[in-house]
């Protein structure tokens, strides 16, 4: 942050690092959570009371829900891989020398960045065919695959912006120095610019991954059997008892928190490590 005047009007903004969760360490949180969920069922198993408490029922269903959660993670990793590959191409298109390519890449990026994730998911779900006929080959498109495609669209647009932002954030001296050393544009990009960008792109990219993981539950709305769908089915199988709702939904919240919170902490640490001081 540089001032236009020599009078200090305002302090530069420093991104605040969030303090640990209620001042506890990650393993302490995990232990408390485990005790809260597993503890009651053990207690009742010892006393031998036949009536199952909500937590005991949850304990019975936990393996299935965990399996669903792993499916969420599979969707998130695949969508991230696909979105990153496409987004990197689109981001490079945004810094292309050709005006047409630049304009096209910019439009695609803005379009998919401004559309809600859920609408894009619906878009992929309903407008893609259920199978693709390639001459004699029939490639089926199951709904989870369409969900991956639908989720990778906004990821693509966001990665494109991350790439463009990182390239633009490098001082122009890097480009000029490379040019004076007679590097071609491609060499400059691959050998000088992009290696420096990776560092800058990593924290926002991880943030995006965390957002994507939290968005995978949207797939339940369009009928993919991931953790939220399974939770609904489990609740229905138990007869829709209202006292079960809070533990079950709370358990899903906890699963996501346990996965995303460490990522968020790690991102903050990376941000601090890679912070450019100028």
């Amino acid at each position: 942050m540089r001032y236009k005047t020599d009078l200090p009007v305002m302090m530069p903004i420093t991104p605040r690092e969030p303090t640990p969760f209620i001042g506890l360490k990650p393993w302490q949180i995990l232990l408390i959570a485990l005790l809260a969920f597993v503890g009651p069922s053990f207690a009742f198993a010892q006393t031998g009371i036949p009536i199952l408490t909500p937590f005991a029922i949850l304990f019975d269903w936990a393996p299935l829900l965990l399996k669903g959660f792993i499916f969420n993670l599979v969707i998130s990793v695949s969508a991230m891989a696909l979105g990153t590959a496409l987004g990197a191409l689109l981001g490079l298109g945004q810094i292309s020398l050709s005006r047409v390519t630049r304009g096209f890449a910019w439009f695609v990026t803005q379009f998919f960045r401004n559309a809600p994730w859920l609408v894009l998911l619906f878009f992929a779900m309903f407008l893609l065919p259920f199978e693709l006929n390639l001459f004699v080959l029939k490639i089926p498109f199951p709904d989870w695959f369409k969900a991956i495609l639908g989720l990778s669209l906004p990821v693509m647009a966001n990665v494109s912006e991350i790439v463009r932002g990182a390239v633009k954030s490098l001082p122009s001296g890097q480009w000029e120095a490379a040019e004076s050393l007679a590097y071609t544009r491609r060499q400059t990009l691959w050998l000088i610019i992009l290696p420096q960008c990776v560092k800058r792109m990593l924290p926002p990219w991880m943030n995006l991954y965390s957002i994507l993981t939290m968005a995978t539950v949207l797939a339940s709305i369009v009928g993919v059997s991931e953790v939220m769908t399974l939770t609904g089915q489990a609740l229905a199988a138990e007869g829709g008892r209202p006292e079960l709702l809070a533990p079950f939904y709370g358990f899903v919240l906890l699963l996501f928190f346990a996965y995303c919170y460490p990522i968020a902490r790690f991102t903050v640490r990376l941000e601090r490590k890679f912070a450019v001081i100028d």
Partner: protein, 248 residues
């Protein structure tokens, strides 16, 4: 007006591009209703999330360790869990625990409807981000400015209201802008608990008319325009409130 509507009916007959939201009065009213529900939901959530952000930022500066810890816990919890699960948790888990009231038809209905729960849930979700945003803005105000105000005889409340907050607000506008765009896009989640917003109404219409493609394209364009209007409005406001000499 009727001429245009009839033209779209003719377009359907001729080409098969079916846009009942233009030529059919019932579908048109549904879509207009959905559009305004989306706007109403966005504005209400926007207001409450900013209020939560200001109050949270103020509480985070409190002298009590536990107040700060609770606010931090709230932020981390709401930032690191899916907004859809939060919405389900509020609507199904907490909603069923609350007492019911008698409705006009003599039946029992929950005390808070789906619109109210969507407002609460989305406000808390966006508010968690706003707390951090406002906090960083308040920290950007230099101590010497506050000291100067103290020397001029301002009271503590006056300093916060007339000096710290206006300066902080200008600094955080770009970040706030981003978060509000996100909030507008997140209102589509209210679809899941049957709030009759734009996505929900579009879904109803394409179920009745089997015109998924047309409605999808319309939805994407509608959100594109809504976000565009919000972004350009906020940019204009940002420029109008710029502090001379600070930032780019």
């Amino acid at each position: 007006m009727d001429f245009i509507f009839e033209w779209f009916r003719a377009l359907y007959d001729e080409t098969g591009i079916n846009l009942p939201i233009l030529y059919d009065e019932y579908d048109r009213n549904r879509m207009i209703g959905g559009f305004f529900t989306t706007i109403r939901l966005s504005l209400v959530c926007l207001f409450f999330s900013v209020v939560i952000g200001v109050i949270g930022a103020w509480l985070q500066g409190s002298a009590f360790t536990w107040t700060r810890r609770i606010v931090n816990g709230y932020i981390q919890l709401f930032r690191n869990t899916p907004p859809l699960v939060q919405l389900y948790f509020f609507y199904f888990a907490i909603g069923t625990m609350l007492p019911t009231v008698q409705n006009d038809w003599g039946g029992q209905s929950p005390i808070l409807g789906s619109f109210a729960w969507a407002t609460i849930s989305l406000s808390f979700f966006a508010g968690a981000f706003n707390v951090e945003i406002f906090r960083s803005g308040i920290e950007a105000v230099p101590k010497s400015t506050v000291e100067a105000a103290e020397a001029l005889g301002f009271s503590k409340l006056q300093i916060y209201r007339d000096i710290t907050l206006p300066l902080a607000f200008r600094v955080v506008l770009p970040a706030l802008n981003n978060n509000l765009v996100n909030l507008l896009k997140t209102t589509t989640l209210a679809y899941a608990i049957a709030v009759p917003e734009m996505l929900y109404e579009a879904n109803q219409i394409w179920s009745d008319n089997v015109n998924v493609t047309e409605m999808m394209i319309f939805l994407l364009l509608a959100y594109f325009v809504l976000v565009g209007v919000l972004v350009s409005g906020m940019h204009r406001w940002e420029r109008a409130m710029r502090i001379p000499g600070f930032g780019g």
